[in-house]
Symmetry: C2
Subunit: 274 residues, 2 copies
C-alpha cells in the first residue's frame, strides 16, 4: 500500500485514545494513493491530559498536512481550528483539521455528513422525510444538522435528558426558522427515518433507544454504534422488516468524506464539504 513512502511523503495523524482499533491508517493511506497523493495516515495515541501539549508540538511539523480527531478529543480539538465550518460552530466538535494557506488549522466535522452518506448508500434518501434523532450529544447534533441540510421535512429530537435536547433544538431553530424542529419521544410511530445517536446498544442489557414495537416496516432505522455492528435496536427493526444502516456503514462513508476534505485542502479549494 505504501510503496511510495519516502522523505517527501506528506503526513496525516489520526489522534485518539485508545487508537489500536482505528481503520483510518490503512484505508485512508490507500485512498490517498488512489487519488495520486503521496501521504501516510499515522495513528497517534494521545491521552486526554496530554492532548493540548501534543497538539501544540505537532503544529511545528511542516509536512503534517492534517489530523483526524477521534474519541475522546473531538470537542477539545475544535479549539485548534483557527477557522471552521458552521457545522463545527453548532456541534462544538471537529473530527478533521487541515492546514490552510497560512499554515493554520481549518476544522470540519464529517460525522453528520457521513451518516447521511451512509444511509444514502443503503438506499435511503432523507429529503422530504420525517426524521427522529435519538440523542443530543456530539453525534446527535451532527446528524440532526446534516439531516436538515439534506432536506428532511421535519426533525424531532429525543433525549432522556431535556437540557441538551432543548439546547440543540434552540441552536437548530435559530438557523432554520421555517422548518419544524420539535422535541420527540421514544415513540417512533409516524417517522420515516429513526436514528440512534446514543451509546444505548453497546452493552447487551442497554434499554432500546425507541419503542421497537411501534416501528413501521417502512421506517428506515440507522444506528451510530459500530460494536456490535447489529445492535438490539437494529435487530428488532430488521425483525419487523425495516431497512437499516449500521454504524459500520457510516464509518465507511466517513473515509471518503475525510479524503475529500483533505484533498480539497491540497487543491487549495474552498473549505466546506457539500
Amino acid at each position: 500500500m505504501l510503496d511510495h513512502l519516502d522523505g517527501a511523503t506528506r503526513v496525516y495523524f489520526v489522534i485518539g485514545d485508545p487508537i489500536a482499533q482505528v481503520k483510518a491508517p490503512a484505508r485512508m493511506t490507500r485512498g490517498f494513493a488512489q487519488r495520486g497523493v503521496n501521504a501516510v495516515v499515522v495513528p497517534m495515541r494521545v491521552p486526554v491530559p496530554e492532548f493540548d501539549a501534543f497538539m501544540r508540538g505537532a503544529a511545528h511539523a511542516k509536512n503534517l498536512d492534517g489530523m483526524i480527531i477521534t474519541v475522546p478529543h473531538k470537542l477539545a480539538a475544535s479549539r485548534y481550528a483557527a477557522a471552521a465550518t458552521g457545522r463545527v460552530e453548532l456541534t462544538g466538535a471537529v473530527n478533521v483539521l487541515r492546514r490552510d494557506a497560512t499554515g493554520q488549522w481549518f476544522g470540519e466535522t464529517t460525522d453528520g455528513l457521513s451518516f447521511v452518506a451512509g444511509i444514502r448508500a443503503a438506499g435511503c434518501e432523507p429529503r422530504g422525510m420525517r426524521a427522529l434523532v435519538v440523542g443530543a450529544g456530539g453525534a446527535g447534533s451532527a446528524i440532526a444538522l446534516a439531516l436538515i441540510e439534506a432536506g428532511v421535512a421535519e426533525l424531532a429530537i429525543h433525549s432522556r435528558t431535556p437540557g441538551p435536547r432543548d439546547r440543540l433544538l434552540g441552536l437548530l431553530r435559530a438557523r432554520h426558522l421555517t422548518m419544524p424542529i420539535v422535541a420527540g419521544s421514544a415513540d417512533p410511530a409516524g417517522f420515516d427515518l429513526v436514528v440512534n445517536a446514543t451509546s444505548a446498544g453497546m452493552r447487551p442489557d442497554d434499554p432500546l433507544p425507541v419503542l421497537a414495537d411501534r416501528l413501521s416496516s417502512t421506517t428506515f432505522v440507522g444506528d451510530v454504534i459500530t460494536a456490535p455492528e447489529v445492535t438490539p435496536l437494529l435487530a428488532a427493526a430488521r425483525a419487523r422488516g425495516c431497512p437499516t444502516e449500521t454504524g459500520i456503514g457510516m464509518v465507511s462513508a466517513a473515509i471518503g468524506l475525510m479524503l475529500d476534505f483533505f484533498v480539497a485542502g491540497i487543491a487549495g479549494r474552498d473549505g466546506s464539504l457539500r
Copy 2:
C-alpha cells in the same frame, strides 16, 4: 511495504530540515517488517527554531517508540536523552532516541559505528591500522571514537581549525590513556586508513582534504559525503589504486544499526550498540 499499517502500528519519526531527501522511511519501515515489527517510519520536517516545541509535544504520543534525528538537529536532540551512551557524551550528538522502560528517551549516535560497519562491508578491517581522520566536528568525533573502539593502533586527527581538534584530542585521550592519539596533518603518508569527515568535496571547487599525491595505493580511503557519491578525494584515491568507501555505503550500514538499536529497545535489552 506497509500492508500491516493499522491503528496498532508503532511509530518512529525521522526529524530533519530539509527532509524530502531521507531514505529512512522506506528502508527502515521495510526493515521493521522483515524483523516482524509492525512499525512505520514517518518523515517530519521541523525547522530549527521550532525543534524544541515539536520535541516537547511529540513525547506525548504514547505509540511513538523512537526518533531518528538528522541534520540540523543532532546536537539539540541530545538534550532530550534522559540517558545516553558514552558515545553521546563524547560527541554531544544523538541520531537515535528510543523510549526506555519509564517512557523517557534513551539516546545513541550510530554515525561512527555506521562508518566502521561500512568500511568493514567494503573489506577494510580497521583493527591494528594507523588511521587519519580529517575533521573534528560531529562526524569526525563520532568516527574517531568508533575507530578507537574498533581497535586501530594509532589515531591522528587533522583539522584546519586547531581548537576543535585539540578539544577532541583531549576528550579521546582522557578515555584512552594508553593509546597514541595525535594531531595529524594534510599529509596521509604512512596511514593505512584515511577518512574525510568534513564537508570538503560537496562542491567541485572545494580543496582536497588531504594531499592526494601522498596517498599510498594500499591506503583505504573513506568519505562521509553522499552527494556527490564519488568525491574528488575518492576519485583521486581510486586513480592511485586505493580501495575506497563512499558516504552512501555508510548510510546503508546506518539503516541496519538504527534498526538494531530500536529492536533492542522493543526487546527491553541493554541500550548500547556493540
